[in-house]
Every structure is written in C-alpha cells, then in structure tokens.
C-alpha cells in the first residue's frame, strides 16, 4: 500500500517550473531517500505534501488523503522535520514538545522524547539560546511526538555533529522497525545510503531515477578496474581506450585505472592488459557508490538512460551541467536569527571515493 502517491505533480513559480510532471510513490514501512542537488525541487515537493504550497497541476495523496483538501488529517499521522524551520525562541524545549503533543491531541512524555534525542538537560531552557545542533535535536523530538505513521525529514542532519548524525540514523532505524514510513530528503548521499531502502533522485523538478541502491548500481553498471603492472606503455592505453564500454583510462608508473561500463568491457580490458605483456600482477574492481549513482543521475548517464528507457539503464555520460535548477523557494527570505538556514551544510564535504563494495582478485 502506498503511503505517498504523487501523480503528474507540477509546480510553477511564475514561468519557472520547480516540479515538472513528477510522479512516484512511497510504500508503507519503507525508508525512502529523496535525493537531489540544491534547487532540484525536494523541498517544494515536501511543501506540497504538507499543504504549505499548492500544486499548479497534478495530484498528491498521503494515506489516501488529498494533500490540498485533507491536509490536517495527513498531519495528524505525520511527524515533520522541515528544512529552514525556526524555533519559538521564548518557549522551552519542553514547551515545544508539549505544543506538538497538544496539536496532535496525544499524551507525550517530553522528558522521554528529549532524552531520546539527546538533550534531556535542556528541557527547561528557552530554545532561543540553543545551538544549531540542539535546535535540530529538539525539532527531531517534535517530529517523533505521537509515534507518527509517516516521518518526513528534510535535510535532518543539518547542524548535527557526527554523534548527532549517528543518533539520527539510529532513530530512523528504530522508527522504521516500529513500522513507520520514512521520507528522507537530503542532498547528503552517504546519510541517505546509510538508512534508506529505496531512493529517488530528483533533478530540475523531475525524477531522473528511482529504485533500491543495488538496482541503481546495476543499472549504472560502471566500475573501476585498477590493474598493477610493471610498465604502462602508450600503446596499451590506446588499445584500452578502443574497447567498447571503456570510458576512461589513466595510468601511473605501475598502475592502470580503467573506468568500464559492463562486465564484458572489464573482462576485455583485463585481457588486453594481459596480452600486452606488461607485467600484469594484480587487479581490483570497485563498484560505484550511491554518490557515483547520484552524479551519474544528475550529471548525465543515468538520467539520459532513464529518459530513453527507464528499464534498461546504460547510456553515455556528459551533456548536462548538473546545476541546480530553480524551485525551492523556502529559506531565502528567512532572516530571523532563530531560523535554520537552508543552505547550511556545515562544511560537510562529500568524498567522491570508490571505497565501497570492493572486490579483489588475483590474476
């Protein structure tokens, strides 16, 4: 059963399309990662789901309720942590949680909730004096009030230190085990990969690809083959570049690195290196991380493949600047000191490493 069902959703701000004919669904009990670069339309989608913004066209239902006409019923069963929120600076953390419980008409234990999110000692302090991380923890606590059937988390790790991020992941896993559906929107791929069953990647208001991470890896089908050799003559590099499916070849004194799409291309590359008699000693292959999938989806290959054939994957890279499209309107006007900025990434640079799912083999 779908908890979230979005069909042909379009949102225009003037002449700019923030969402363009967006359709996807989120099933009950799954942790769905909603990925996309800044400005892709993630927050706009959430704003429509929760009734802050009206769609220009299309429809969306949550728990079978129309998001425009039955928004209150949806929010009774939903816990939301939205990007760019601002706390009530004159209310304490306990009052924030009580406020959420009162609005939902449930009995909640603020102390237990604040303990769960790691700020038990701040219960009676006014939120105006909180650090960014404490505010974020308090907001997560508010979202958890009433054991919601759906958790909507928009960039939930903003402002959290590594311990906070780890706690957040644990909370998401606990909520998932409880049976809650989690809609996890972020541009931080490692965090999505750590907790999500399935991901959808949004770009310029369109869903460029979706599926579970393994499926997407398989569809991308690109990996690195690193081969240790005694020498790297130009003739070898040229012959490798001529192999179908080999996209990039680089070399150091004693190593050749081949980016190849598909098992056949990798095998032919290895065979070519062996035939070249350059002292072939060892090789490793590395499957793409979700980050590579994200890059491919938003920069080229996967997006191009999905545009051509949503089922087969493949395609060629390049051709898209990958820049953030217009769309998310929230955050830009928020000047109050109590608000959580929408562009805050706290310097959490993402590493484009190929460290995951490494397999090794001997020649």
């Amino acid at each position: 059963m779908s908890v979230i069902e979005i069909q042909n959703l379009t949102k225009r701000f003037g002449t700019v399309a923030a969402l363009d004919d967006l359709s996807f669904s989120v099933e009950e009990g799954e942790v769905f990662g909603f990925l996309g670069p800044n400005g892709a339309g993630k927050s706009t989608t959430i704003n429509i789901l929760l009734g802050f913004t009206r769609a220009s066209a299309g429809s969306a239902q949550v728990f079978g309720h129309d998001v425009e006409t039955e928004s209150k019923q949806i929010r009774f069963r939903t816990g939301a942590l939205l990007e760019g929120y601002g706390v009530y600076s004159r209310l304490t953390a306990r009052e924030h949680v009580e406020r959420a419980a009162n609005a939902k008409g449930v009995v909640a234990d603020p102390d237990a909730i604040l303990e769960r999110v790691g700020i038990p000692d701040a219960a009676d302090r006014r939120a105006g004096g909180f650090s960014k991380g404490m505010r974020q923890r308090m907001a997560i606590g508010m979202a958890l009030v009433g054991e919601p059937d759906l958790l909507v988390l928009d960039e939930p790790s903003t402002g959290l230190d590594p311990n906070g991020v780890r706690d957040l992941r644990e909370i998401i896993r606990e909520e998932s085990r409880r049976g809650a559906t989690v809609f996890f929107s972020s541009h931080l791929i490692d965090q999505v990969e750590a907790v999500c069953d399935r991901v959808g990647i949004l770009k310029d208001g369109e869903m460029v690809t979706q599926g579970d991470v393994d499926d997407l890896r398989a569809r991308l089908d690109a990996s690195l083959v690193s081969v240790s050799v005694d020498e790297t003559p130009d003739s070898l590099l040229g012959s490798l570049r001529s192999i179908d499916g080999v996209e990039e070849v680089s070399a150091t004194d004693r190593q050749v690195v081949v980016t190849a799409r598909g098992g056949v291309a990798k095998l032919r590359a290895l065979e070519a290196i062996e035939r070249a008699n350059v002292g072939f000693t060892d090789f490793t292959t590395t499957d793409p991380s979700l980050e590579e999938i994200f890059e491919e989806a938003t920069l080229g290959a996967l997006a191009a493949a999905d545009e051509g054939d949503a089922d087969t994957g493949g395609g060629s890279p390049g051709g898209d600047d990958g820049g953030s499209g217009p769309g998310d309107s929230q955050g830009s006007d928020e000047t109050d000191g109590d608000s959580q900025g929408s562009d805050e990434t706290d310097g959490e640079e993402r590493q484009a490493d190929w460290s995951e799912a490494t397999t090794e083999g001997d020649a």
């Binding site: 209150k72 939301a80 760019g84 609005a103 109050d336 109590d338 608000s339």
Partner: protein
C-alpha cells in the same frame, strides 16, 4: 483543540514578549493614564473642588483612542503570521495538525484577547475614577463606550491579521499597516474632497455636501467610532469634536449616513469583512 492550542501558545509567547507588554501599555496610557491624571489633578486641587464632568473625560479618552487604538491594534497583530513565515516557525505551526483556519483564527483570537484585556483593564481604572470622583457618571454610557471601543479595536486587529496573512515579509506588513492608517486618517478625507472636486458642480469642495460625501466619510471606521462616542458623551451641536473631527452636516442634510445606526453598521461591517477577506486570501496562499 488545535485552535485552542494556537491561541494558548500565542498568548504564552505574547506574555513573554516586549510586543505584548508594549501593546498593553499603549492601550493603558490613554485610559488608565487619563484616570491617573484626573486623580492627580484632584489631589493637587487644581479643579478647586469642582470635579470634571464624566462625559468630558470620556470624550477626551474617546478622541485619544480614535487616534491611538487603530495603530496599536495593528501593531499588536501585524506580525502574527508573517513573522512565523519569516522566522520559519510556520513549519511548526502548520507542520503540526493545525489547519489554516486554526492558525488564522487562533492568532486573531489571541491578539483580540491581548487588546480586550488591555482595554478592559484601562476602562476598569477609568470607571473607578469616574464613579469615585467625576460628576454625573453614567453606567450605560460607559458600557456603550467600552463596547464601541472593543469593536473599534477589533476592526484593526482584523486589519493587522489580514495584512499579516497576505504579506510576504515583515517589511511588507509594516508598510501595510502604516498605509492602512494613513488611508483612514488622511487619505479617506482626501478621497472625499477629491470626489467633491470631480463631481458636479465641478471644482466646488465646500458645503453643502452631498449625501454620498457622508456615506463615504462615515464608512471610515475612525469616523464611525467617533460618531458613536459623540452620540454617547457629546450631545452639543457645535462642540470641538463635531467641528473638527467630524464633518458637521448642514441642517438641511437629512441622510441616514450621519446617524448612529450607520456608524454602528460601518464598524460591524469592517469587523466582519476584513478578517473574512484576509482568511479567504490566506486559505489558498503559498506560504513557503
């Protein structure tokens, strides 16, 4: 339940904010403040043992309130919703199961409570002084005065909330309440005389004024409130208020627009229509 939650939360924050206390003091100044001045004058025996008439003091309070209360009421309400949007707390307010009606009506009620409690506190002080010191106090007059003042204040709470719900920034809302005040305080009169200038006989702006002049003029809530106050406390034909603040109709003018029922109707009309229009616009507005 949600509406009540919004009201309680907003009142709690108002109680802890300088805005709430500032608004309350601004209402108390022309009411309890006048009462304090009366007591002071009595204590230093400036009046020579001859206490001022109750009606005169109430009339003074009414005139002061007609200038102050619109702005104070709008000041106390203009940020109610737009500040939540600017600060981001609207994501809590409407991310929780509060409908837009809950948010709008809840803010209206809480800001109304702030104004009404302040007005009642001020008038309670006035009543104590009025019935203790002043001559010829009138219970019915005071009750009518309180009723008209509360209605008058709520008209501008309505303007403040409506502006707050449709503005996209605090600056825009601030401009909105200033503009509203300027329109009613000066622009309205200019429109009346501009109308006189462009309607036959063209170019004449003096009396006798046509009926429409009074229909338009007394529809202004400031004038409507003054008319009610004058009707209760100032029955003389050519008093200062009638001469300066309200256009004095010529004896031959016979229109319902200059009557008290029309003034009451005007106040009630603004009281109902403004918040209603504000809500209808807010109901479908993109908030993020």
């Amino acid at each position: 339940m949600s509406l009540r939650t919004v009201v309680e939360d907003d009142l709690l924050r108002l109680r802890r904010s300088p805005l709430g206390w500032g608004v309350a003091l601004s209402v108390l100044a022309p009411t309890a403040g006048i009462a304090a001045i009366v007591v002071l004058l009595e204590l230093v025996n400036v009046t020579g043992g001859q206490a001022a008439p109750f009606d005169n003091i109430m009339m003074t309070v009414g005139v002061l309130l007609s200038f102050l209360l619109p702005f104070v009421a709008m000041l106390g309400s203009y940020s109610a919703i737009v500040y939540e949007r600017e600060s981001g707390s609207v994501r809590f307010l409407l991310g929780l199961p509060n409908s837009r009606w809950d948010a709008y009506a809840g803010k209206y009620v809480s800001r109304t409570v702030l104004l009404v409690v302040s007005i009642l506190a001020g008038f309670l002080t006035l009543a104590l002084v009025g019935f203790g010191i002043l001559t010829e106090p009138s219970v019915s007059g005071l009750l009518l005065f309180v009723l008209a003042t509360v209605a008058f204040a709520l008209v501008f709470v309505g303007f403040g909330i409506a502006i707050s719900s449709v503005a996209n920034s605090l600056i825009g809302a601030t401009a909105g309440i200033i503009g509203t005040y300027v329109v009613f305080r000066g622009g309205w009169m200019i429109a009346q005389f501009a109308g006189m200038y462009i309607t036959p006989p063209r170019g004449e702006v003096g009396p006798p004024y046509p009926d429409w002049f009074f229909f338009l003029g007394r529809a202004n809530p400031l004038n409507a409130y003054l008319k009610v106050v004058v009707e209760v406390f100032d029955r003389g034909p050519n008093t200062l208020v009638r001469q300066v603040l309200l256009t004095n109709p010529a004896p031959e003018v016979n229109t319902v627009a200059t009557g008290t029922p029309y003034a009451v109707l005007a106040l009630v009309g603004w009281l109902v229509v403004v918040p209603l229009v504000g809500y209808l616009l807010f109901r479908r507005k993109d908030l993020l």
